[in-house]
Amino acid sequence: MNVAPLLKRIQGGDWQAFEVLVEQYSGKALRTAYLITGRKDIIEDAVQEAFVQCYRKIKCLRDPATFETWFYRLLTRICWRLTSREKGTVSLDSLTESGQEHALCDDRIGDALEAGETKRLVQQALGRLSIPLRTTVVLRYYNDLPLKEIARVLGCREGTVKSRLHTALKQLADELKLIAPELFLGGEADAQRAIHPGKEGLQSEA
């Protein structure tokens, strides 16, 4: 989608245009923040702050084509800051990882088994990754950003992004082999492909 005209109006001080931008990007921004932080209680705060900073700094944005990279850069920084600030607290979402979800909300037991299982696996596997690795994975496999864009968002080199993705996928594969071995039932070859799944893809993109 071409956001250049919208951005130009916002840079001219058009609040209505900013509202349109918020409506367009808020959903994706919230979901990205959720996957990065793994917590629902702080993502709205993070997204609000990201849009506030966006509104304030948007006049500094010269190339509208780089808006998404620029905005995700703001968002990830805020998510990291909030996560590090809230490190000492325990979120309700994190409790689900330790099997206390039934004690807290029994009505979830009735959820679809597959959905519940996927949720548990994603939370558990992503939750074990460090914040930079998790952010890299989210930007790559949820936001579908190319490596170059991810490098710009994270403020690092492409090589670092590749390295992080490789490490993250290896950790995820090791984790999932323990908690969901059924994902690797296709034999040793499939398991190896699962552990190093993106190597060919990463090489071809680079």
């Binding site: 609040w15 509202e19 918020v22 409506e23 808020s26 959903g27 919230l30 979901r31 990205t32 959720y34 996957l35 629902k40 993502i43 709205e44 997204v47 609000q48 702050e49 849009f51 506030v52 509104y55 304030r56 959905a115 996927t118 949720k119 696996l121 994603v122 939370q123 992503l126 994975v137 989210v138 496999y141 949820y142 996928l169 995820l172 594969a173 999932l176 994902l183 492909r193 699962a194 552990i195 799944p197 993106g198 893809g201």
Partner: protein
């Protein structure tokens, strides 16, 4: 299934439950306005910080001026005196100092009239004047030692003034007698009599002479005169004759330079 594909699908499914609330835009707007308010608060904080800094500077300055005499001396010279000179004018008069103050609107009634329009005489400090005597006996009674005046004076010279004083705590005193030609301000002869021996310094004498059998010192000294602002100063030669007799030091000083040594000796010898 490749891990990448599973991850894409799993994250999409995990995140699909998250939806933006309907009032997100309103909350962002509120947050923006709140943060702008905080910006103002920060500005206020800066103003408070500036005020605190000013107070600190005044406090430190006060301590410095309070504790350091050098700082006070500097402030007196560089700040206070120039400021006071705006409000006060010290007019030197012949007899002493007249301190006047520029007073706001003294002359005109109503709204105060012309600012700084009037001069109010605040205080008159007469320089401590020495008592003046008309006779030698009166002077002698005051200073406590014999006062002998010349019986011989050059032609035209008359007594103009006779003053003298003595210190309360010591017996030291002096009598200063001025003779001169009334219509010629330049012709002045000063006779000083004192019982203070320090007054006698023979080192600068150019000639030793005798006055009634006593050693006297005769010397010349320069007198610079400036007549008019644009004229070169002129230097005249004055004469002085000093001697001691019976514990008193006598000094005859001719500031006109008109009297010769012989004339001066004659005057000195006539003291009675």
């Amino acid at each position: 299934m490749k891990l990448e594909e599973w991850l894409r699908a799993a994250m999409a499914r995990e995140a699909e439950q998250i939806e933006a609330g309907p009032d997100l835009v309103r909350k962002i707007k509120t947050r923006l306005l709140t943060q702008q308010g905080k910006g103002k608060a920060i500005f206020m904080t800066w103003r408070k910080a500036a005020a605190a800094t000013l107070c600190g500077v005044l406090l430190v300055g006060g301590l410095a001026f309070g504790l350091s005499p050098q700082a006070r001396a500097w402030a007196d010279k560089a700040v206070i005196s120039p400021l006071l000179s705006v409000a006060y004018k010290v007019i030197r008069t012949e007899g002493g100092y007249t301190v006047t103050k520029l007073q706001e609107g003294k002359d005109l009634p109503g709204d105060g009239g012309a600012r700084f329009g009037g001069l109010e005489k605040m205080e008159v400090k007469d320089a401590k004047r020495c008592p003046e005597f008309s006779t030698a006996a009166a002077a002698q009674a005051h200073v406590g030692f014999p006062v002998h005046l010349p019986t011989y004076l050059p032609e035209g010279y008359k007594l103009i003034s006779m003053t003298g004083d003595r210190q309360e705590k010591s017996d030291r005193g002096f009598v200063s007698v001025v003779y001169g030609v009334p219509k010629e301000a330049g012709k002045r002869l000063h006779l000083t009599i004192t019982n203070e021996r320090n007054f006698l310094r023979g080192g600068d004498a150019v000639q030793e002479v005798k006055v009634r059998g006593k050693t006297a010192y005769w010397a010349e000294f320069p007198i610079m005169e400036i007549n008019g602002a644009n004229k070169e100063p002129t230097v005249k030669v004055g004469h002085t004759l000093k001697w001691e007799d019976k514990g008193l030091v006598y000094k005859l000083e001719d500031r006109s330079g008109a009297l010769s040594l012989e004339e001066m000796l004659k005057i000195a010898a006539s003291l009675n």
